[in-house]
């Protein structure tokens, strides 16, 4: 007779950077099911936005989480600009793209670095984090901060890049590119990485579509959807880049999507620096924000981020709602975990690159 029992993982766990509680149902060492209990960092931020004016909400939304912090104010501003009929200047479109892609490189490298840590390959973890540190330096140098860039404002951006700063950005990209190429080869060939990630935590394309998953989690299962291509915003319609997909749907596929997307992001950054023309960086003066409603979408590092905004003619949102990519991707854990070993719980959870602060708001 097979005995089924449950073990708790979390809410505080060494492999989770934020709190989430999993009840793992086991048959022997094999996972039979998982139940997720959320709510440990719910802060009521959506409600709070209706008590703050639009300017304050640009600041507030940037603080929803740290790794994809730039995507929130960008998408909030896009929704507000849609209601007000504001077309941001072309240079601002490129500068928004640069801020987003810089964050993407740093965010994706953080996730694949943690993957190496979970499999016990700590020298690789430290190497990836060292590469990521170059992008952290880029953020600190260009924006004055390592996480929250404060790049956005309603009608454009709050920063510009002069010739010296653009040269600096090019030089840092040139430093990261070969290092990232080496790291990619390691993830493609190293036996320790492959033995813990190939064929583990598999999610089929049909399951990804059924659960409406987004971002690298969906693209790792062959779903060819990227907001930057499907619903272009900022300068993405002026740039050449591929949508990265993998077909196998395992942990390794998701990691490879993230590494390749970091490489694509570096290429996008170079294109932006080359194609960006002189011009204004924001619309001034700003018009009154009328009553209205809007939907805005962007491709955050973890996937599709969608904002719904309704205004009533005052200076505060009547309703602001956002759905982050992680919100959808939690449901993938159940099919990913079933049939795998209990030892793989942490690495499977990491493979959806979950953001709990974003999920709970």
């Amino acid at each position: 007779m097979t005995t089924t029992y449950k073990i708790p993982v979390g809410p505080l766990h060494v492999a989770l950077e934020e709190p989430m509680y999993f009840k793992i149902e086991l048959q022997g060492e094999t996972i039979a099911g998982v139940e997720i209990t959320a709510g440990h960092v719910h802060r009521g931020i959506e409600y709070l936005t209706s008590k703050r004016n639009f300017m304050q909400n640009v600041i507030l939304t940037e603080r929803v989480c740290s790794l994809c912090s730039n995507s929130h104010p960008t998408t909030f501003c896009m929704a507000l600009e849609q209601i007000a009929g504001i077309e941001i200047p072309e240079r601002a479109e490129f500068l928004r793209t640069i801020a987003d892609e810089t964050k993407r490189v740093a965010s994706n490298l953080f996730n694949v670095g943690i993957l190496a840590h979970i499999v016990g390959f700590d020298s690789l973890f430290m190497h990836v984090m060292e590469i990521r540190e170059i992008m952290q330096d880029v953020k600190e140098t260009l924006y004055g901060n390592r996480m929250d860039l404060a790049a956005n404002c309603i009608g454009g951006v709050r920063y510009d890049l002069d010739a010296e700063q653009r040269a600096y950005l090019r030089a840092q990209i040139a430093r990261v590119e070969p290092l990232l190429g080496e790291v990619r080869k390691l993830y493609e060939t190293n036996r320790t990485i492959l033995s813990r990630t190939r064929g583990v935590g598999v999610l089929s394309k049909s399951e990804a579509l059924q659960l409406a998953l987004v971002g690298p989690v969906a693209r790792g299962s062959g779903v060819d959807y990227d907001v930057r291509k499907k619903a272009p915003y900022a300068a993405y319609d002026k740039l050449e880049f591929p949508v990265v997909t993998q077909q196998d749907g395992d942990i390794w596929s998701r990691a490879m999507v993230r590494i390749r997307e970091a490489q694509v992001a570096l290429d996008i950054l170079k294109q932006c620096v080359d194609k960006m023309r002189e011009g204004p960086i924001a619309v001034t003066p700003l018009p009154e924000i009328p009553a209205g409603e809007a939907i805005a979408k962007s491709e955050a590092p973890r996937g599709e981020l969608i904002y719904y905004l309704r205004t009533d003619g005052s200076d505060k949102p009547s309703r602001l709602k956002w759905r982050v990519p992680s919100y959808m991707n939690w449901s993938a854990l159940s099919p990913m975990m079933k049939g795998n070993k209990v030892a793989d719980v942490a690495i499977i959870v990491n493979s959806i690159d979950p953001c709990i602060s974003c999920t709970e708001r």
């Binding site: 959320a38 709510g39 709070l48 659960l211 499907k230 619903a231 915003y233 959808m328 939690w330």
Partner: protein
């Protein structure tokens, strides 16, 4: 969104949406379309959802709200945002405060967390919902609690800080006397 799909949605949703214009379509300069409609009757929601599913829609998210005008009329507003390969159709329904709305989980399994969230944040009842457990807020806390509690930010805003400071200064001057 291609014209064929637009025509199909226009045709199939006509008669179920408020206003003579039917579905309102807007396409921006980058070619991204956003469409809006409000169902006259909330009970049409399930059949509309099934229709959208057959047109390859993906449920992006659901927004529940209780704006002042809706509160005055005793109605919740719920907006269902569907993705069509990058374009978005938002279908809105109004539900009386004490009424129920149909669950979309049988058609769109990812509606689950969205519905559980608006059940706890807006106290909206969902018909046919399989999972009634709280998502984020503890069971001991009343539903729709954010509409009733005084936000911490109000509690510690500049006015109360000034009041507190005046009280401290007042205490100080009492001490000197």
């Amino acid at each position: 969104m291609n014209q064929e799909l637009k025509d199909l949605l226009d045709r199939d949703l006509t008669g179920r949406v408020e206003g003579r214009c039917g579905v309102e379509w807007k396409t921006n300069r980058k070619g991204v379309t956003v469409a809006w409609c409000r169902l006259e009757n909330g009970s049409d929601l399930l059949s509309v959802a099934e229709l959208l599913k057959t047109s390859c829609a993906r449920l992006s998210t659901i927004t529940a709200s209780l704006p002042e005008h809706a509160r005055a009329n005793g109605m919740h507003e719920i907006a269902y945002h569907f993705d069509f390969d990058g374009d978005t159709l938002t279908v809105q329904v109004r539900i009386p405060l004490d009424d129920e709305v149909d669950s979309l989980v049988p058609t769109f399994p990812n509606a689950d967390w969205n519905e559980r969230e608006f059940m706890e944040l807006y106290s909206i009842k969902v018909r046919g919902c399989i999972d009634h457990r709280r998502l984020f807020i503890d069971e001991k806390i009343d539903p729709a609690v954010l509409d009733r509690l005084i936000p911490f930010s109000t509690l510690v805003n500049a006015a109360s800080t000034k009041t507190l400071w005046e009280r401290i200064l007042g205490k100080g001057s009492e001490g000197k006397q």
